[in-house]
Symmetry: C2
Subunit: 344 residues, 2 copies
């Protein structure tokens, strides 16, 4: 792999990275998938499967995996980083050792760094010399992507070149890409929605019905937009694929890990038990902690985040959490002044 | 029923009217349910069921049905009209014979009048002397409401008194009410979402997955907001319960009639066959026609509405409709200027 010229390098062999590499390979792009583990690289290259993260899926035979970061970074004009937020900085740093200023570097990680509360694009700026940075986000459940179901996503960057190169790469694939400029809003949408998905999983796990879940999703969108705008995002972003689009998919799909996490909470399992038995991390668990702490520091009131935080970290019983999730007024759901006038 | 003083009269014994009357009765309000048919009135009063529209549901024993419109209108300070759009004007006219200017009159009908393209509140102004008019809308699937699952709705009126009286009535019930001023947006949200739900039913019926449905819902929200703002609505309304909230519930629930209609279209049934076998009308079918014609008259381009219209009225095959529904750019999804810059 390292010898030939690539169109794109995908860094991270989890379900999302593998799915994106797979659909790009099927669209005849020259794509390499960097994975950490030798045995996974061999499995992808010889059995054409990724049985841990995408069980039962046949990957395209031309998709090549590699563990050679230096070689594959050197031969790729575009790099997509798709690793969990917990290992994001460390992976970005390793990548930064080899990256060049003429490369395009986007990520698809929907989380926030614990402790620093930094967005992933901020980490990329800190750990690499690349300026042409962007983010890919939207309703993109990996298990659906990899089987070729159509989907749309947003690619956000301050650089037109980033947007255009990603759009060119995905042209003719099953994933449609829409360009936006609002990096902050796109990253906040992708991470915040996992908190709401956890709450939606609880509501669904308790059998509250579609009316109640829609009430929660609507309130969640308002809270997301209010928080995002306070961080400098454009409110309109949250009405698009990276906001409500991703929120709807994640809150209504049993394929979502964060939704599953909430459903299991509703069944009485404890957060540590659930974490210990999940194959891939539910980003919402750490994002809840990060956003809650950050909001407290800024003096911003986020009722849903606060309830989910109490449920995950302070032992709040799910039945009490349910009442809080459905009972808080939506009177202030819009960030820019509202036609609403109180609630009853 | 006619002799005693009522808190509210609900006009219309379909699933929504019956469900709302039921939860108000359970919250100890004095409520009468006006129905057209004698046999249904007797069934509600004696068997405490409405087996045609809410099969298997036990209604509260204190809920009284009546066929006496004059007497029940005379004794109710608040009237909620919940009949299909096709019979709305005729019912409003009959009600208008007895209504007084001091009464509050709201409706819960999510449709548009064919031919005139009028919203239901406009019809109320034309057919009654009541000025204190409003609309109730939101994610309120009747089968969930009637079994006591929590839900939220919007009550919209230019009159504070209307909002406050409805909020007072529902206080302590399982349906939370949020007041807004934007009547136009609230009515457009409730009717337009049925068009998108039809399309979502097709996408679901074809097994396209949650990513694709979210793409459609996001585009649908944008089209709804663009159309609504062109009619004088406040864009923010579409981010609330009457917009995205109702859209999410209707597009993701098998309980929605409009979603069911789309699913059956995807299975190859013809619109006339489906219509002939549905117990209650799917408002989206006529709303599609009304909005499509109105948009053509105004020169507004609504791609999803156009595709659903061709599918319902011009024989467009569902597989072609699917491609159109998922392929159209979202670049212009926001009405008030957008950070997006094209699509690929």
């Amino acid at each position: 792999v390292t010898a030939r010229n690539l169109d794109i390098l995908v860094v991270g062999g989890g379900s999302f990275g593998t799915a994106v590499a797979s659909i790009l390979s099927q669209a005849d792009r020259r794509v390499a998938l960097w994975v950490r583990r030798d045995d996974l690289a061999r499995e992808v290259n010889h059995a054409h499967t990724n049985s841990r993260y995408l069980p039962g899926v046949a990957l395209p035979p031309l998709l090549r995996a590699t563990t050679d970061l230096q070689g594959s970074v050197a031969s790729a004009p575009v790099i997509l980083l798709a690793v969990p937020s917990a290992t994001f900085r460390q992976t970005a740093r390793a990548l930064g050792e080899h990256a060049r200023g003429d490369q395009v570097l986007v990520h698809g990680t929907k989380g926030i760094e614990l402790g620093t509360y930094k967005r992933m694009s901020e980490v990329l700026f800190e750990e690499t010399c690349v300026l042409k940075v962007g983010v890919v986000s939207g309703p993109n459940l990996a298990k659906e992507l990899v089987r070729g179901s159509p989907a749309g996503c947003v690619v956000a960057s301050r650089y037109d070149e980033v947007v255009e190169s990603i759009q060119r790469l995905f042209q003719g694939s099953t994933l449609r890409t829409y360009g936006v400029r609002d990096v902050v809003g796109t990253e906040i949408g992708g991470s915040f929605k996992n908190i709401i998905a956890l709450a939606a999983g609880v509501v669904d796990g308790l059998g509250m019905g579609d009316n109640a879940r829609s009430l929660l999703v609507t309130r969640g969108l308002g809270e997301m937009a209010r928080w995002g705008v306070a961080q400098g995002a454009d409110a309109l972003t949250f009405g698009g694929l990276a906001g409500i689009g991703d929120l709807v998919a994640t809150c209504s799909s049993p394929l979502s890990r964060n939704h599953q996490f909430g459903t299991r909470l509703a069944r009485g399992e404890r957060p540590e038990e659930i974490k210990a038995t999940m194959v891939e991390v539910a980003e919402g668990v750490t994002t809840t902690k990060a956003v809650h702490e950050q909001a407290q520091g800024q003096g911003v009131d986020l009722p849903i985040v606060r309830t989910v935080h109490r449920m995950l970290y302070q032992g709040l019983p799910v039945l009490e959490a349910r009442d809080e999730l459905l009972a808080v007024p939506v009177g202030r759901e819009f960030p820019r002044g509202s036609p609403r006038r109180g609630d009853a």
